[in-house]
Symmetry: C2
Subunit: 248 residues, 2 copies
Amino acid sequence: MKEVKSSFHVSCKNCGLQKVCFPTGLNREDVERLDNIVDRRPPLKKGVHLFQAGDSFNALFAIRAGVIKLYSFTDNGEEIVHGFYLPGDVLGIDALGSRMHQYNAMALDTTSVCTLPFEKLNELSENIPNLSQQILNVISKEVLDGRMHSELLIRRNADQRVAQFIYNMSERHRHRGYAGSEFRLSILHRDVAVYLGLTPETVSRILAKFHADEIVTWKKKEVFIHNMHRLQDVIGMHHECEKQTIDR
Amino acid sequence: MKEVKSSFHVSCKNCGLQKVCFPTGLNREDVERLDNIVDRRPPLKKGVHLFQAGDSFNALFAIRAGVIKLYSFTDNGEEIVHGFYLPGDVLGIDALGSRMHQYNAMALDTTSVCTLPFEKLNELSENIPNLSQQILNVISKEVLDGRMHSELLIRRNADQRVAQFIYNMSERHRHRGYAGSEFRLSILHRDVAVYLGLTPETVSRILAKFHADEIVTWKKKEVFIHNMHRLQDVIGMHHECEKQTIDR
DNA sequence: ACAAAAAATTGATCCAAATCATTTTTTAAA
DNA sequence: TTTAAAAAATGATTTGGATCAATTTTTTGT
């Protein structure tokens, strides 16, 4: 509580997420123009919804801090977790066609978001060519992430899924300038299990094994990767080409 | 071979797919403007690629006739099938961000496509507001289809997956004005198995069962749905609300 | 700080779908 | 049309992860 929240601090041009978030590829001037349309509201408390299925769509959201779970339910009430959104990620793409949100977005921890009113964003993008490309990038990322998720579900066994999930989270933290081998992760094992198409029991057993094998420890929201090399081995990665596989 | 292929016949405004394809929601005049930028080439023979991973992107493709399989490979060479594209479907969304195709698109049968040069499409969409919304619809559909695929992989058993696949194909044919209970499907069981995250043996056994139970017969590229009601029962659908679940 | 609820862990058992093996059918090529 | 190759079908066996059940740990709300 030491930091005073000044309006100066909360703007795109001073935001540490520029390289990950929307402003990527925009020049100083254009970032400022983007900044002007961004709406910032008080943080969401844990468990609060940013939007829910059926809500009308009028803005995209960029996560500033925290985590958001995007989820829905099957016809028979089983939960489906589509992804986890970290700072810099953009949420709301699913509603672009129907102008209505298709899924539920819930804060898993205290979460700040930047609201990007879609109409204003569109107007702005007519004058900033890089911005419309940036919108396409964000959309494309959403499609590609979905495909990676399917690949994981089709072709990986339980060990590999859990290992891949942790590895991806590590990479995403690393891209955001944090340590990739030690980070806080406010996601329930239960939610990870649903996301990976496994049961909580299976995830728990695998994490116990990874802990015993001194590969990864994940206890009380804190992840420690003790041996990145062996984690990659579990996934079946080739070490020479550490190609990045971003995931949710 | 009775029909003479005139250039008159091959245009958006006379195309039977208007309601399914890109022109949805455009007025007569705008369809004509769209028509002018569309490039039509001779059909692709079975086994030929429309594009491959790594190819540079410069156009979206709308399928006019035939089927396209969108697929890739995992690091260890296993195939992943992302979807099957039927007449009216739009292909190439995955490349919008990187301007480079991420997957392989192969004709599973003789296939005609309409090429929509992306730059021209963008220019046009500045003057036709409905068109830019239509682009968003197509993109959004791609995201949503991917999520439906994940849901299938996570929450459905083998019987349900096969049943859902056949049901979705039936619906897609019905939307295109064909009979929903009897249609030709030029897709190998093997490819369906890969798409559904199953083995060919499992798919074969399930089809044998569906045949014996007089629910569905799929032999030699021809599908007959004998009992739609029971097919829906396998999926676990509620009959009263026949909500449509489009799939690839 | 304490009580109640939720989440995670751990063990025992079971089953759906994979794998392995072979035969039959279909498709493509000569 | 014949032949070779690919795909599909069918049977026997195995197994990874689900399910069921009970305990321990962590979180939450008062």
